[in-house]
Symmetry: C2
Subunit: 349 residues, 2 copies
Amino acid sequence: MRDDTPAPPPTLADVAERAGVSRQTVSNAINNPDLLRPETLVRVQAAILELGYRPNRAARHLRTRASHLIGLRLSPAQEFTANAAMDRFVHALVEASREAGYHLLLFSGGPGKPDTTAADLVRGYDDLLRSTAVDAFIVTDTYLGNPQTRWLTDRHAPFVAFGRPWAEPDATHRWVDVDGAAGVALGVEHLVERGHERIAWIGWDHQSFISDDRRTGWARATAAAGRPVDGLEVAVPDTVDAGRSASAALLDRAGATALVCASDTLAIGALHTLADRGLRPGRDVAVVGFDDSQVAQVVPGGLTSVRQPLEQVAVALVRALEALLAREEYDGQGVLLTPTLAVRGSTGG
Amino acid sequence: MRDDTPAPPPTLADVAERAGVSRQTVSNAINNPDLLRPETLVRVQAAILELGYRPNRAARHLRTRASHLIGLRLSPAQEFTANAAMDRFVHALVEASREAGYHLLLFSGGPGKPDTTAADLVRGYDDLLRSTAVDAFIVTDTYLGNPQTRWLTDRHAPFVAFGRPWAEPDATHRWVDVDGAAGVALGVEHLVERGHERIAWIGWDHQSFISDDRRTGWARATAAAGRPVDGLEVAVPDTVDAGRSASAALLDRAGATALVCASDTLAIGALHTLADRGLRPGRDVAVVGFDDSQVAQVVPGGLTSVRQPLEQVAVALVRALEALLAREEYDGQGVLLTPTLAVRGSTGG
DNA sequence: TTGAAAGCGCTAACAA
DNA sequence: TTGTTAGCGCTTTCAA
């Protein structure tokens, strides 16, 4: 007969008994070791070790009102794109959280399904907030018109955002972002160095500050290098097919020699066009993507792409969260990080 | 002066007072509504709604010893590969868990870092277990020699596994897996239909039941179709470069007309070889990958690939978890799901 | 420096 | 059908 009733984990009382002290002393040994006489501390620590004691999180949470859990909403996976940033970001965040003594609690919902209302968008946040399941949120989809940062602020819900409050200059929440313009500028400068004259931009057609930001990097760096911009710009949906037709049009009608794209998805579309026409990426036409997805990394020849420093972003977000929860002063400045350029065959040769 | 002290969420007592009943009656209204007289129930529910009451999870967890949290260890992201299954899987799992009233708690650690010991491998599990942070685990990396399923079993820790207990025929835990052999066989049959004669296999060289399983599908389906296997098989590390050289060798030395690969990563390597030689995937040489990664979906021409039904896997895992936690009888059978084949240009025309 | 008492918000067991 | 009592395991007073 197999016993599948695990012994209940030891409690503070068990440790106290074993060490011959009161429960409170054990609690102090864990949370305020300085308060104990060294020899008592040693005795308690030995008992903790022998019993394999770990404080019960529910009890601690109930008492201290801190779950040490960070809520993160996972937006629906996008297939048939090269949008890989979320995956790398989650990994980085788990790691950064762990180092700060937090775990990540994932929840879902929000856009992706048809008929998503504003209420649906915040429902997941609302539930976790009311049930005090998490200490704070990390909010990632801060695109235009998304109600959640506003909603969270109005609720006094603790959160930090990955993404600037573009649309709300008076927003007071902490945020971390990546300088997309600087990233794209890196790509343009790289192309200028390689002698390109007609450097085109393929952006998104939906109203988006992120797209505008990245486009700015192209416009500025191109102009700074004395290269033309007129007629070298197009805005399309963020799909492979759109990138494909947009790139074809830019090659045909604008004589572009290089294509800088707002995403790897669009850049892959551009590579399709080159493949269709028997052109060699990097030799005949250069292509630059954005996000350094797995696709960019492994596509034959390789795709040069702007890489967001997501590990740094994660660390900065967790740091901001700690400051927020510790009610530290905030200067309202936010953290803006600079991406790098992963150079590969599509601009090489 | 901005008030940033949110009002504390209402408690059971607040609802009770408002509805003019006792706390216990409110609790029953939530957990055993049948016990209440309909008119009382209505009154309590109205009070719950007015106050926006949600039960405090910590208190409930402490009392019922159920956190409604599922632990999942995120293994380090693999870059420079096309291994995308984990991402899709996490999304599917969040969704399936939500429908069952659970949230996912992510933790990290384990292989990936140098000097990982067996103790490191189980540390994350151990911590969460001792602190009663999660109700159960979903274990994904059940490869050979991984101590954690054994360790969890010995601890009587509740868990279900994504992956068969290949190495432990006497294992008694619940599991869900995908029939890799059947998936690869689908690929081979598809190639046979398209008239291929010399269908080669590129597998992994590290000792792995998963690799063996997938290889079996190739060997069986190839033999069943009366196609040769001798000399048409190679085992290499799971990298793009290895896939590239392996495919080159199979084309040169074995006259392969089709390459079936144990992963999309290897398949992408094969596409590199074709690109190097100016061969057209799907016309000159066919390539089949495994996992239907984003890379397979968007690479120019498209890569035909075996797609694991991860949404079904997630649902089956959560169902198994519920059965486990409800202490239902278990017949020891496990759940084996069948993948599909996503057909694209690399086997097309 | 250590211990005793109280209570976080909830639900199981029992009583009315 | 509803209410009362007790206690889950912890930490925050406060007293010794």
